[in-house]
Subunit: 482 residues, 2 copies
């Protein structure tokens, strides 16, 4: 019998956080130096706090705030962390736990424990009394929420700076170190393996959530991943056209039917670092010709983008490239009629792919830093959904996730609009309505000369059909010449 | 091969919520009538809202607020619900969703959908303009937090009452209907089965979280339970003496060792209604005599309480009964020396069982209503942790969860205290230090004449050893006479 998993959760070296802090220090000092400011002050962050559900004592499972996790790797709630700009020394402030904590929640770890574990110092230096505090405040461009700066009793007696830290720290997070990449790679490895496991076990008559359960179990049991990067989207049939399916109001509860397409967007998080992977496939294991048409349109776009991605390439251009390839395939498949450049000018691509091509990935699924200060968000349909408009650079990790969906709420207005209605073969489009959509999503590392795909799932239709029929993955070629 | 599960998730009839609302209406009208107040006004509750994590757009999986779930059963965020006291009619206010919701999160359901699904009316009656609003505000005695009353733009133009609703609605929740009991029973059935599944798969060398993963998978895959009642406690070895082990700072990450006791406190939630079950067993499948001593002390207490539970019995007395039986067993096992009544007077039981004997269970794991207004919390050690001090009544569901732990933070002061030190056989106690503890927890329904155990797990040491060795559960007697 095949082993359920070939993977083992890797250890997380504390050097990862030391490296992250050193990177911030270097950037921060450079910035201060460039602006002729003194190289001193304290970077102060407040970690996340545990939350109860509504008025009850039901504790939500705590997950550390991402900027704090990036710099300190602390898994516990209630901490503060500081970095002294001048000396480069770090200080962790552990929460004062109530005396009955030991009986209810475990041994109160001495301060020295945190010193060893997080490799930081635990003492403030006397000369640092009342230093300038650099606090974290800035816009998250995905949520439009602002980071909440650290706060504590007595902070009003300090001088604080709310503007300097956020853009510098955010930019540090955009470029991944080797140690960070190892964790993102493991999250990808275990999640890729779990996707294959799901494909192998899909059967008509199952509930969507049963596949979610299989994914969660595989990544936790064999990968030690207690959290996912996001709520699993296990969409089948028409649900595959609902971009954020799977939430509480649409809880993966449909029964799989023969002929359905499945669109499963699921990614595990390993020690804060995430993955974000989508596989689309027919639940009965065999693509119909209509399903192949849409699937291959998306796969062609996915592969074409990966082929040209490298430092210097602009992400808006990649989005347009994916759109163009999908539209061309729809023309070839007689779903659309007309000139592809005219369609591009009419922004027809956004009717079939209303979301952006991809986003940075790291400690957050939608990792921050997509818009450098001054870079605006495009206003055109489709492009307005982009989570970054930047030029690619080495060390970025970004998802490539083209999709093609048949969404009534987008098709109906496009069919009524005189600028776009002429492009549709109405009969063909109507045939596809109700069949849902396809998305293919991989996580890409931008390298010095190109990019590296960190995701390893069956992508070609024949690979998917073979794996669903029981072939091992990766598929070993049988035609080895002697 | 044995089937992985014999269970199927049952449908949830909307009558469940109709019954809950009718019960509230009856109690509410009775209360108004008793206080000579007019039988009119509107009960208004605000459902829970979806939350993002910190400043990001990471959406936490939504779980409805429990009072709102009790009355309306709505799984979606952003609702308000109202009940007109005079007519008894109910009104649900659906959130106004943004136009792009249809593409991102699914079809915008017409208001008639909610009418059908939740069997409530969706129109305010014209004569109800500016009625008295009864809002939910009151203390949760487990968290010491207050329920937050409904709020909306313009509420200041209404007359509001913040005192009447909370105690009446809370008391409704204390007594479970048949329809509620069916869901609590299913949550118990699937969780009991999952506990057995975990016992069968435990092996020295595994990680604690792998057993958590097995439990979660079994209850979701076969029971459709997406949520647990609380974060799984998968404690082995010394961790079994940490009462709330399993949280983010102690994340079930120990490796199981030969000779360990395991204490697994895990319960699934089915359609809002929970279960709360603890099994303790040796990870290698065979109880040592020391483990048997402690285990049987706890089991004897568990069984004795269940034997005498019935309407009219006071819960504080049940707690003391459990304590007394555990202390007697420890005397019998030569861990303690002296007279058990002297030990009871010195509150020695609280050293070994610092938590309360049990708590109400329902839509919340610690279901509210444990302290009727005016009933105070005892101050003595152990008793001060009780989550209810009430007399039992038919229809209550309450956990029975005696435990016996060897916790240094409690033993050390007791050994130093002249009032308690004389009771200890220090050598024997020290032998048990580091071995952790045992808890056995079942969910009991108080019936007209006694109680019914809704939990069905192996409890006798021989049953546990047999099931861990592969026997089916329930164990079928082999000595059937012809």
């Amino acid at each position: 019998m095949a082993l359920p998993s070939l993977l083992t959760p890797p250890p997380v070296p504390v050097e990862l956080y030391v490296t992250n802090r050193q990177k911030l220090l270097n950037s921060f000092r450079q910035h201060l130096s460039d602006s002729s400011r003194p190289l001193q002050g304290i970077v102060l962050l407040q970690g996340g706090d545990e939350r109860t559900r509504y008025d009850t004592d039901h504790l939500e499972l705590f997950r550390q705030e991402s900027y704090f996790a990036y710099l300190f790797g602390v898994i516990e709630p209630g901490f503060y962390g500081a970095i002294d700009i001048a000396s480069g020394k770090s200080i962790l402030f552990a929460p004062k736990l109530p005396p009955d904590y030991a009986a209810w929640s475990g041994e109160i770890k001495p301060l020295s424990y945190f010193k060893v574990v997080y490799a930081v110092l635990h003492k403030l230096y006397p000369e640092l009394e009342k230093p300038l505090l650099f606090l974290l405040r800035g816009l998250n461009t995905d949520s439009n929420n602002y980071a909440v700066p650290a706060n504590f009793e007595g902070i009003d007696t300090f001088v604080t700076d709310l503007n300097t830290l956020h853009p510098i720290l955010t930019e540090c997070r955009v470029f991944k170190s080797e140690l960070e990449l190892a964790l993102i790679q493991f999250a990808n490895d275990i999640s890729s393996e779990a996707h294959v496991q799901v494909m192998r076990n899909v059967k008509v008559g199952m509930k969507e959530y049963q596949l979610e359960s299989l994914f969660l179990h595989h990544t936790y049991m064999y990968g030690g991943c207690r959290h996912c990067s996001y709520t699993c989207i296990c969409a089948t049939g028409d649900n595959s056209a609902v971009l954020h399916y799977g939430h509480a109001a649409a809880p993966n509860d449909r029964t799989l039917e023969d002929g359905d397409i499945a669109l499963f967007d699921m990614g595990a998080e390993y020690q804060f670092y995430g993955s974000d992977i989508t596989c689309s496939f027919p639940v009965n294991g065999k693509f119909t010709s209509d399903q192949s048409l849409i699937y291959n349109a998306v796969l062609k776009a996915h592969d074409a983008v990966i082929l040209v991605m490298k430092p210097g390439i602009n992400w808006v251009e990649m989005h347009k490239l994916a759109e163009k390839i999908i539209l061309e395939s729809l023309i070839e498949g007689s779903v659309l009629v007309g000139d592809v450049m005219d369609m591009m000018a009419a922004r027809l691509g956004a009717v079939f792919m209303p979301h952006g091509l991809g986003h940075f990935l790291g400690i957050d699924t939608h990792d921050p830093g997509g818009f450098l200060q001054g870079l605006g968000r495009p206003e055109e349909p489709g492009l307005s959904s982009l989570r970054t408009v930047r030029d690619l650079k080495e060390g970025m990790v970004i998802t490539v996730e083209p999709g093609c969906y048949f969404i009534d709420a987008l098709l109906d207005p496009a069919l009524k609009n005189s600028k776009t209605s002429k492009f549709f073969n109405v009969e063909a489009v109507n045939k596809f309505r109700g069949s849902g959509g396809v998305r293919i999503e991989s996580d890409l590392l931008v390298t010095a000369n190109g990019c590296r795909n960190m995701t390893n799932c069956p992508r070609e239709t024949w690979e998917i059909e073979a794996v669903m029929a029981g072939s091992p993955w990766p598929i070993v070629s049988k035609s080895i010449s002697i």
